[in-house]
């Protein structure tokens, strides 16, 4: 288990960091994913399969968290859980780019979770369309539709002044 964590924690954290907008959420997801992995350690022997399995589990846990945050927001309980760009901004990013990143994270929070995940997997993780569809368990057409809807929203929210 320690070896699995040493080998893959960084990857899982990176994968989760594109799906979520807060460092505490990423830490929680990494912990949850490896707790699940600990119970299925015997079946995680092939490195190629392990990576894919960790991606799928991370995605599902992140999706659950994002949906739960939506519910909380609906009841006015989202305060204190806002996106935080400080931890994920590159040290080289200019103040203007950091501001743009802050807007992007806030806009992602506004998207329906399905659209958000599709766009994120495609544009922040660099997954091919087929890979996005497989990870989300939907058809290619649905994947494309979700990505296009998210893109339109983000372009609108982040239009240049």
């Amino acid at each position: 288990m320690a070896q699995l964590y040493a080998d893959y924690a960084r990857f899982v954290a990176w994968f989760a960091s594109r799906l979520l907008t807060r460092p505490d959420e990423v830490e929680d997801i990494v912990q949850e994913v490896f707790l699940i992995a600990a119970r299925q350690l015997d079946s995680l022997t092939d490195p190629a399969q392990t990576r894919g399995w960790l991606k799928t589990v991370t995605l599902r846990r992140a999706a659950r968290l994002l949906r739960w945050k939506k519910v909380r927001a609906r009841f006015g309980l989202a305060k204190g859980f806002e996106a935080n760009e400080q931890w994920i901004a590159s040290p080289d990013a200019s103040p203007e780019d950091r501001a743009a990143l802050s807007e992007l994270l806030a806009s992602l929070d506004e998207l329906p979770t399905d659209q958000r995940l599709a766009w994120t997997l495609r544009h922040l993780h660099g997954e091919p369309l087929e890979g996005v569809a497989a990870l989300l368990g939907c058809s290619l057409a649905t994947t494309k539709r979700r990505i296009a809807a998210a893109e339109a929203h983000l372009q609108q929210e982040l239009r240049d002044d």
Binding site: P23, E27, V30, K79, L154, D160
Partner: protein, 353 residues
């Protein structure tokens, strides 16, 4: 001629690839270890209900009996063969390293006093305003508000020294004669000699292996030493390079030196903003961060920097718990940038959570 990128592209490009540092890695590993040590907890979930009821009963009993109103001395009576953790009434912890020894003299609602009798002890102190926390090592006192620090009694070279290292927050070190020796901030360390006639403190450095030195007599107030003093551009470049490399201490020093030595330089606004970010995000030194953000606002070279600094100032005074200042700075931001990029975040501050 570079191609003009859209704001969305710039936002995506501003993301860092490396988000997982050693501290997070170790922290989650520790949480995982703890969780995996108690597998039954996950399986026998129904026990949670029973536990919650027991906990509620215990809380009621604690409130009625108020055991913390009485002295609760406890002694780590012998040197620890292995590292051991002591949890105090308010959740603060003391990790005594192998061979170390502490004695909890008092742990009451009025305050906590701990004597470090031997070796190294690491303190994680919950934020406390009206309840002093004092760790004492051979008469050298470390007074704390809320922080993470360690003390070490090193007697390998008689008469020995007391080392104090602060990793978060601020502590005050008081000598055996009751005189204030130093005020240490995150990243600072100091050695206090136990020699009877020796002047305290001994030479100290702000971080192990750091080439720069803390000014003697002003531990914690670091200054850059160099054969030929660097100019503002060199300081700014050095600070930016250190920041990119993740060397927070060096970056903070260089930015602070720039602000101090070249207060009218055109880089002061950006330097102050970056200094404030580092003080707040990496060192959790909210007071120092607020000062830096105020400086950034005053010297901002453009609206982007000013807006960032004003928003971060709201965040830092909020973290300090200064509600009046928070509301004032919140109103200032909202008046100047009613539809600003940080408007939503600023709106959620000052007790709105």
């Amino acid at each position: 001629m570079t191609e003009k990128r859209s704001k969305l592209e710039r936002a995506v490009g501003a993301m860092r690839d490396e988000v997982w540092d050693d501290l997070r890695h170790r922290r989650v590993a520790k949480r995982l270890d703890e969780a995996l040590e108690e597998p039954e907890r996950a399986k026998r979930w129904w026990l949670a209900g029973v536990g919650a009821a027991a906990l509620a009963t215990a809380i009621v009993a604690l409130v009625l009996v108020r055991p913390w109103a009485e002295p609760t001395p406890s002694v780590a009576g012998h040197r620890q063969p292995e590292s051991a953790r002591t949890v105090l009434a308010d959740g603060s912890t003391v990790d005594v390293q192998r061979g170390g020894q502490i004695q909890v003299l008092t742990d009451r609602s009025e305050g906590t006093r701990i004597e470090v009798l031997a070796g190294r002890a690491e303190f994680e102190v919950q934020k406390r305003v009206a309840r002093p926390f004092v760790a004492s090592v051979r008469g050298v006192e470390v007074r704390v508000i809320g922080t993470h620090f360690s003390t070490e009694l090193d007697e390998s070279h008689p008469p020995g020294v007391v080392r104090v290292v602060v990793s978060r927050g601020v502590v005050e070190v008081v000598g055996r004669q009751g005189e204030r020796v130093a005020r240490l901030q995150a990243g600072d360390r100091i050695e206090v000699s136990l020699a009877p006639a020796a002047k305290e403190p001994l030479p100290a450095s702000s971080s192990p292996g750091d080439v720069d030195a803390v000014v003697p007599g002003e531990p914690g107030a670091s200054a850059v030493r160099a054969a030929s003093p660097p100019d503002a551009a060199q300081l700014f470049e050095a600070a930016s390079a250190a920041r990119r490399a993740g060397d927070v201490q060096a970056a903070v020093k260089a930015y602070a030196a720039l602000l101090k030595q070249f207060p009218h330089d055109s880089r002061v606004g950006v330097a102050a903003l970056e200094l404030g970010r580092l003080r707040m995000d990496s060192q959790h030194a909210y007071g120092a961060a607020s000062d830096a953000f105020r400086r950034a606002i005053a010297a901002a070279p453009n609206e982007g920097v000013r807006e960032d600094a004003m928003a971060r100032l709201v965040e830092s005074v909020d973290a300090l718990g200064d509600k009046t200042a928070c509301l004032t700075e919140q109103q200032r931001y909202q008046a100047r940038y009613p539809t600003g990029v940080h408007a939503a975040a600023v709106r959620g501050r000052c007790g709105a959570r």
